[in-house]
Amino acid sequence: MNNTVLRAENVRKTFDGRDAVKDLSFELGGAERVALLGHNGAGKTTFFKMSLGFLTPSAGRIEVLGAEPGSDKARSSTAFLPESVAFQRTLTGVEVLKYYAKLKGEDPKKAVGLLERVGLAEAGTRRVGTYSKGMRQRLGLAQALIGTPKLVLLDEPTSGLDPISRQNFYDLVTEISGNGATVLLSSHALTEMEARTDRILIMSKGKLVANDTLEHLRTAARLPIRLKVKAKDEPAEQLANRLGGTPVNCRSVEIMCAHEDKIARIAAVTSLGAMIEDIDVHLPTLDDVYKHFSEKANAEDSAGEA
């Protein structure tokens, strides 16, 4: 990774004696798309607020492009979309966008062009009050794209969006990072992000429990791969005996195997040739990986406390 855009070093934030974020350390490079996962209360929003300078870490430090969060330099190159934002309902999309462009010291006319990029070109002259949830979210994203931010922080940008809107949203995220911006987005809707992020950070109870690409995380989690084999005529029990799996609903057999055994097991299945009608390979999903890492962290926590 070339230049560091965001660096967190042993960051800790305490509210009323309770750690919301503890010992958080990671770096984001240029033009990366990074997902920050964690369930509600894991410390994601707290971290965002610290990266924007709204909160000061109780310990450790955060650097945005080498500057302190909240400094003019950091703020002028950071864009942010809060988890829930409701723009003035009586203003039009164009007026909202021009307003934020002027606050950021950017050309309002250029900013209006962003409406087209988020698919709101025609709705721009209508009042925000008439927008659907997806449209409001896209307006928020357009606002985050004003100027040329180097770091784009999106706090749960896809919550409440329908699947198509989500797909469009991630297309935009890819486009943004293609233009050289680093995107850090938080979410708890996981599966949709699989192909859409370069790296995944998992937070649990304020701690960073994983930080890697999805591939590496899958391997590290050593979650079994599930092969589902469908028999042609033969009863599933016989097939199950031969392949060493468990029969499911008469005609199918489910085989769990480790990552490195995958090819061997598939070869064994295909060697049966005519007996097999179909085979499905289920890799562990991001949900599985996420569950694994947060459960592991929980287990370690309770072991540490015991």
Binding site: F15, K49, L52, G53, F54, L55, T56, E68, G70, S71, D72, R75, S76, T78, A79, F80, L81, P82, E83, S84, V85, A86, F87, Q88, T90, L91, E95, Y99, Y100, K102, L103, K104, G105, Q143
Partner: protein
């Protein structure tokens, strides 16, 4: 910096136009002032003062009630509303300072008020002029009324901002704004009156009372306007008080408004140290107490 202040001010003005706040204020001000002008200027003929002047005297009493109300209703949403909608985080993630934000709001709201006052009272002045009741000094009286009403409005805008910055919910801010109006506009005068009746010659009447009038911008406003009109003869009451004061009534308005408005702006500016929900009101107060203004500046 000015660009950002003007942007916030312009947006507030636009919102005022769009959600019909300005229209509503104009209609209320015009309706009440025309009614007062038509009904209240009847004695003009017998007293030999212009109808405009005597209308302005009635209107300054109207302003005392309406202008603070309009100002508080404009202001209570300024900070709490932006927090509740999540837009304050957005605004402060751009290179914008808290004082720029509040000054922008204040400028925008003052413009809204000025427009409403000019159109509302202007309509009445126009009506009087059209029916032959106008003269130059009457127009000057009207201009003074509008100008001082704006200053009065500013004092209450500032009070509204401070309430808005102190509480977390918009609804709480709204309730407190109405409470402030009730206390300062209605109950304050009643309390003063009661105290005056109870102790009409003593220490209170001679020493405390004049400054108690000064401390409330609404009373200072009334005092200034009525004495500026030399209206003692026609309205008596309040203006009669002016003669017994240890200071010129003309000195009343400016210092009392500024003394209220400036600390309010400064306070709400530093109270808003962090637009973060978990930060408690107490810790915000303590920031003010420990003079963390300079720390804030360094953070920025």
């Amino acid at each position: 910096m000015f660009q950002r202040i003007l942007t916030v001010a312009g947006q507030e003005f636009r919102i005022g136009l769009r959600n019909r706040w300005i229209l509503l204020s104009v209609v209320i001000l015009a309706a009440f002032s025309m009614a007062l002008a038509l009904l209240g200027s009847a004695p003009a003929g017998t007293l030999d003062v212009s109808r405009m002047t005597i209308t302005v005297a009635s209107l300054s009493s109207l302003s005392v009630y309406l202008v603070p109300l309009i100002a508080l209703l404009l202001a209570f949403d300024a900070v709490a509303g932006e927090i509740e909608r999540g837009t304050l985080l957005l605004i402060f993630s751009s290179p914008m300072t808290r004082s720029e934000f509040l000054i922008g709001k204040a400028v925008g709201h003052i413009c809204v008020l000025l427009l409403a006052l000019t159109l509302g009272y202007g309509a009445t002045a126009g009506m009087l002029a059209a029916t032959g009741g106008g003269d130059t000094s009457g127009f000057i009286d009207f201009a003074r009324l509008i100008g001082t009403s704006a200053i009065l409005g500013f004092a209450f805008l500032a009070l509204g901002y401070i309430v808005s910055a102190l509480v977390r919910q918009v609804t709480t801010a709204a309730a407190m704004a109405i409470g402030i109006w009730l206390v300062l506009i209605v109950l304050y005068d009643l309390a003063l009156l009661g105290a005056l009746v109870a102790d009409s010659e003593g220490f209170f009447a001679s020493t405390v009372f004049p400054f108690a009038l000064l401390a409330n911008p609404a009373d200072a406003f009334r005092l200034f306007n009525l004495s500026a009109l030399n209206a003692n003869a026609m309205v008596g009451g309040m203006a009669g008080v002016a003669e017994s004061l240890p200071f010129p009534p003309a000195a009343a308005l400016a210092p009392s408004s500024c003394s209220l408005a400036l600390p309010c702006l400064v306070l709400s500016y530093c109270l808003r140290g962090s637009p973060h929900d978990e930060e408690t009101v107490c810790s915000r107060w303590s920031h003010v107490a420990s003079g963390s203004l300079s720390g804030r500046a360094a953070n920025r």
